[in-house]
Amino acid sequence: MPKPEFSFCGQVEPGPDPRLGGLGRRDFLFRFGRGLGSLALSSLLFQDTLRGSRPRLEDPLLPKAPHFESKAKSCIFLFMEGAPSQMDTFDPKPALDKHHGTPVTRIYGSMEKRIYVGSPFKFARHGQCGMEVSEIFPHLSTCVDDIAVVRSLHTDSHNHPAGCFLMNTGVSIPGSPSVGSWLIYGLGSENQNLPSFVVLPDRRRGISGGAVNYSNAYLPAACHGTMLNPDGVPIVDLQPPAGTGREEQEASVKLLNELNEPYLESDPSNSGLLTRMKNYELAFRMQFAVPGALDIDSESEKTKELYGLNDRITEPMARKCLMARRLVERGVRYVQVYCSGWDSHENIAAEHRRRGYETDRPVAALLKDLKQRGLLDQTLLVWGGEFGRTADNSMSFFRSNPGRDHNKEAMVMWFAGGGIKGGTVVGNTDELGIKAAENVYHLHDLHATILRLMGLDDMRLTYYHAGRLKRLTDLGGRPIKEVLA
């Protein structure tokens, strides 16, 4: 059985060890050491040879066996940044509509007089399961039999950055590894020519809290998230500056390998030397692999139409959803798609409707497209924001255009795809949707569920850091059993 923690180092071996260890590449060196220069650019030679040897320091990106059998191999996290409202999306609250306009005095920051806001949207039952979905998601409503909604989640913070850190890393302060990094750490990568953890941002604004949201933090750097720009150059410096010909580049890599070769002799036990050489070839291949993976122009007109690429308003999300499908198709482990702008303190009727319009068709298309390609089974879809929204609103906004404020006590998320029991609704909030009330789950449970669906046990996926074994779920989470198929 493979070791789940490849660098567990409690009392065994302290890590991270800058000495790169023997790696048992001796055989390889003896056999191929001489001819390396001439073998430059000859693809995966190293990799295959290495598999046969006895690696002491594993390449963290090599695929690893999961803790459990699992259907899902990849995960697409649709991050609705800004926090969508539960009672305007998947958690209808008719009682709240009756309270619309009723004042309530409570603490929101300070004690203040606030007004209840009914949902401006109509709900209807859909699918065989009869799930209730808001009118802002007409396309998604046709997919409810593949979706499991959890209405009873809660989190620890109702501030955007802390909420995003919690959702992405399980900790409210920056400095912990992201969910994607944990997955790479636990499972490795299926495609060595592409980054295995990809973030597709919203072009309108950065993620609240910045790059630490997709950081590997203390996990090995190979587990870092890579932000791909969906609109222009996908990765900065993926290509050399304009004016460097491909032929020159090839010649440079070849010369570099030739000059590096004799230096291997300086320390045959230093695996870093060989890995570095391999990386120049890998980087060279990535120059073609990454743009190829993102080349949505090559998709059929029908597919483009399905995603909504031809509608100016849905185009940005459509582009990212389509890219996400192309990436998981190529074995990318974790793709995060951001859509920001859900922070509707004011005028939720217009703002949530607009966000709904922007995302509904692309997201539904992604689900249908994956399904029709037979990929839905091995892809886990997760949809949600960093927290939920309040049932009430401040007086001033209510008078102009009612909206909803931040609420960490209740939030809604949904799952679909590999290992998920579609058509399920889990848990409930109280009558007005203020607080998770039945079958309550914490964010750690959400993380435990994602890991479980990807074949990992959150208790066993650990890394030794700052004096103890760290986990994504801290002291552990409880997988949401009801959503598991």
């Binding site: 059985m1 923690e5 409690g10 009392q11 260890g21 920051g109 913070s157 109702h158 950055p161 802390a162 409210s172 302060i173 920056p174 941002p201 604004r205 950065g206 993620i207 809290g209 910045g210 790059a211 630490v212 933090a217 750097a221 870092h224 890579t226 720009n229 222009g232 410096d237 993926l238 460097t244 010909g245 032929e247 020159e248 010649a251 440079s252 010369l255 030739e258 000059l259 590096n260 230096y263 036990s269 230093n270 030397l273 570095r276 990386n279 120049y280 890998l282 980087a283 990535m286 005028n347 009727a349 217009a350 409707r353 607009r354 319009y357 255009n401 030794y464 004096g467 103890r468 002291l475």
Partner: protein
């Protein structure tokens, strides 16, 4: 009077007894415990601890340590019967003899694992675990005493105490050290190790001409006296103290005076300020009047927490205290105190109560920006009046930008109001009468109502009037500093043990007190008549009697020279830090450290002059030795070091000749791709190029966006204390070093430099390039390969300088290059291209 430290005599005795018995790892007390930790615990940890950990304890059973195992659980009593594996419930459950078979979830353990546990049980002595209740204090908690130098057989190898300790352990293992490294390797080691820059060809030539041991010692002295030394070693310290020029989190506001702390640290290393004083200044510089303003800058150490948005004030206060106490414990005491915030430390003798007793020293702490005049050191080589002018000028600019921004916004909103409906798509109803800032922002994104120019102007104004705005932000030039003081209410601020670290669950009130494992008691400190609690703590930490302080620091110095500390987790000298094979060597260095007046440079001399340090990478018997000690913890050879991010960047600048040696002052703002900045939600204007060509230690340390090159090469995690840099090999390193504009600029500059220095002859160019980058001539075959890369063995006679210069820049677009080069007659690829290759060589980024 209560004692601050255990009486020395007793502890000396304990140490003398404990060391020989402890064998390999002094941090582990007994053989059975040791074996448990090494062999058995990893198996249990993988399979069982999720449910049978110290906290989970399903059915009362914990398998965390030997004592817990022997105590057993509620169902079956002791889990292990010493010497009787088949009768031990642990094995019975694992094999399925008792039901339910364990582990409850997941597959049964492999037979090999069960066999290993059985063997361990069978060989467990009957008295195992006896006395485990109250383990005697082990290294590093024991008092420090001067260890005797061990006897060794091969005395000729011993240059100083370092070698004696290393060699005696090697001889025990019947190993011999590696031969000395080449002169060039040793020269590169001390240059990169002490100043973080490669030797120039001239410096290399000087040394390689005379490499007597006197010359080596002279070279070390000269490096220690160079001001670049402080830049290099100050950066190590900045890693530890989580230094950043911004606060982090979403607002990530500039901490525009913190650079003065960074310069203070660099200055302290350059002056070889006694480490005990360095500690005092950072924890309580405000309380030492006679240290002057300079010491106040030291308390910048305390002002580096991340101000997370919290719902309640007390939570924010907790963030500050957690940060300060945890960092103080890790940095100075090498203990993961943070663990004890929520529960008694699981591995080291630190009860939760001790954590809060230490926190009580910081209870009255107030942190704020306050005026501190620039000191004479900071102003050396600077023009204060220019700074003043800059500050004033930028104040004005900011004001006018803000005014313009407001005017423009009002204009835009007015237009939106007039055109309200077209903004919305037809099916979107409920449009508002008032135009809010949010509306405007979204409308700008839509770009229907506004031209591209207006959009750009709007974005620029937004950026310029928020956050960093500019490298010339007036804050950077004001004589202010982040300082610490004590609240006048200090005596009424209570500190309570918090259950699980939760500020709402107050337990017992505690008074300031030191770690009980060190003092031997948990009496409160007598604070009567003392002005500053922090001063009391600083005095205790910086005392020669504190068993941890000096040990921790010498281990760190060792780590930065060798790549790995004698204790591999330098901020965790406790049981989890990996232990050490060389507690006596650490003690000897710590002893010397204190006796030298806490001189860091004195420790450098001891380490660098040892034969241990000067060993080669390659050992004639490396294959056999790898089997014995693959991690090289006995130091039978030198391990290679991959240079850190900053050193690689600085070396590029040094070799290209573009390095700007100016030290100190506000940070420079690196040029980062606009895309990357937008995505990170941050923005700044890059500094002028000559400013950007300064040492990387002066680069803006922005918590929400680390320079991609720095982070690719495992730059420090600047969110928290970073005791060890990672060493990874990932493809973004190639993007940063092979493809980036920065690298290409440096290779072009290097090519220009070479032409300037040796003219147009390709052979001489190649030789110079190797000397600059690698401090050695190319081998004949290397020269041949480089010549053929450049195309043609020799330039045509009479080739003009102009043509050569043309060839420096990279060749044109794809496919053009070869033909064009052929037509030109001599050149194929440019000299700059060759330089880029050299700067990407393994030999350039690895230190032998």
């Amino acid at each position: 009077m209560t004692l601050s430290f255990r009486p020395l005599l007793v502890s000396c005795f304990v140490l003398a007894l404990a060391l020989p018995a402890a064998g390999e790892s002094a941090a582990v007390p007994s053989e059975s415990e040791d074996r448990f930790q090494r062999e058995i615990r990893p198996i249990l940890s993988r399979n069982c601890l999720a449910c049978h950990g110290a906290e989970t304890r399903q059915s009362g059973l914990a398998l965390e340590n030997l004592a817990d195992i022997l105590e057993g659980g509620a169902l079956s009593g002791p889990a292990v019967l010493a010497g009787k594996s088949s009768a031990s419930p642990l094995i019975q459950y694992l094999t399925g003899e008792k039901q339910p078979r364990m582990p409850l979830t997941g597959s049964p353990l492999p037979e090999a694992d069960i066999a290993a546990i059985s063997r361990w049980i069978d060989e467990l002595p009957a008295d195992a675990g006896v006395g485990a209740e109250e383990p005697s204090l082990s290294w590093p908690w024991t008092a420090l005493a001067e260890p005797r130098l061990p006897e060794v057989q091969d005395r000729s190898w011993v240059r100083n105490g370092v070698d004696a300790f290393i060699l005696s352990k090697l001889e025990e293992k019947e190993m011999v050290p590696a031969p000395p490294a080449s002169e060039r390797a040793r020269l590169r080691r001390i240059y990169f190790g002490l100043i973080g820059l490669p030797p120039t060809p001239e410096e290399a030539q000087r040394f390689l001409g005379d490499s007597s041991s006197a010359a080596y010692a002279r070279e070390i002295e000269s490096l220690l006296s160079r001001s670049e030394y402080g830049v290099r070693w100050g950066r190590h310290w900045l890693d530890l103290v989580r230094y950043a020029d911004t606060g982090g989190e979403s607002t990530d506001d500039a901490r525009s005076h913190l650079w003065r702390y960074r310069d203070y640290v660099i200055r302290a290393f350059n002056q070889d300020r006694p480490y005990d004083r360095f500690i005092k200044e950072q924890i309580a510089g405000d309380a030492y009047r006679h240290f002057g303003d300079e010491a106040k800058l030291g308390t910048g150490f305390l002002y580096q927490w991340i101000p997370v948005q919290r719902d309640r004030g007390p939570e924010r206060r907790r963030d500050v205290l957690n940060d300060v106490v945890g960092t103080t414990g890790s940095v100075f005491l090498g203990m993961t105190l943070g663990c004890a915030r929520c529960h008694d430390h699981k591995y080291d003798p630190i009860p939760t109560r001790d954590y809060y007793r230490l926190e009580a020293f910081f209870a009255p702490l107030l942190l704020k920006a306050a005026p501190v005049p620039f000191t004479e050191f900071e102003l050396a080589g600077r023009q204060p009046e220019v700074w003043k002018e800059k500050a004033a000028a930028w104040d004005t600019v900011l004001e006018s930008r803000k005014a313009l921004g407001e005017r423009k916004k009002a204009e835009f909103k007015a237009r939106m109001k007039a055109h309200r409906s077209p903004v919305m798509a037809q099916d979107l109803k409920d449009w508002a009468l008032e135009v809010t800032d949010t509306d405007l922002r979204w409308a700008m994104n839509d770009g229907v109502l506004f031209s591209k120019e207006e959009q750009d102007l709007y974005q620029l104004l937004r950026k310029q009037t928020t956050r960093f705005a500019n490298p010339n932000n007036p804050g950077y030039f004001k004589p202010m500093a982040f300082t610490a003081s004590d609240s006048p209410l200090r005596d009424s601020v209570g500190t309570y043990v918090l259950k699980g670290g939760n500020y709402l669950l107050r337990g017992e009130e505690v008074q300031p007190g030191f770690l009980s494992a060190v003092t031997g008691h948990s009496d409160p400190v007598n604070l009567e008549g003392l002005s500053s609690r922090r001063k009391v703590l600083a005095e205790w930490i910086a005392s020669p009697d504190n068993p941890l302080t000096a040990r921790v620091m010498v281990n760190r110095i060792w780590q930065y020279h060798f790549g790995t500390g004698l204790v591999p987790q330098p901020s965790d000298l406790g049981k989890n830090g990996g232990g050490t094979r060389h507690p006596e060597l650490i003690d000897w260095l710590a002893w010397k450290f204190i006796r030298s007046g806490w001189s860091v440079k004195a420790i450098h001399r001891l380490i660098l002059q040892s034969n241990t340090y000067q060993q080669a990478l390659r050992h004639p018997r490396w294959e056999a030795y790898e089997e014995i000690d693959s991690a090289n913890r006995y130091l039978w050879k030198r391990s290679p070091i991959r240079l850190e991010a900053e050193v690689i960047r600085d070396s590029l600048l040094a070799v290209s000749g573009e390095l700007n040696p100016l030290q100190g002052g506000p940070p420079f703002f690196p040029r980062i791709d606009q895309e990357v900045m937008d995505r990170a939600g941050t923005w700044w204007e890059a500094s002028p190029v000559e400013d950007r060509n300064r040492r990387t230690a002066y680069m803006l340390q922005c918590r929400s966006l680390q320079s991609p090159m720095i982070s690719a090469f495992d730059g420090p995690n600047i969110q928290e204390t970073c005791p060890v840099r990672g060493v990874t090999t990932v493809t973004p390193q190639v993007f940063a070093l092979f493809n980036s504009d920065f690298s290409h600029q440096q290779s072009r500059a290097m090519a220009r430099r070479i032409v300037r220095e040796v003219g147009a002859d390709p052979e001489r160019q190649i030789e110079r390039a190797f000397q600059l980058a690698l401090q050695r001539p190319p081998s004949p075959s290397e020269k041949q390969k480089c010549l053929s890369f450049l195309g043609g063995s020799r330039d045509l006679p009479g080739e003009s300088r102009e043509l050569t210069l043309k060839a420096i820049s990279f060749s044109g677009g794809a496919g053009v290059a070869p033909q064009a080069a052929t037509r030109q007659g001599s050149r194929k690829y440019s000299l700059a291209g060759l330089c880029l290759v050299l700067l990407n060589m393994n030999e350039f980024v690895f230190l032998e």
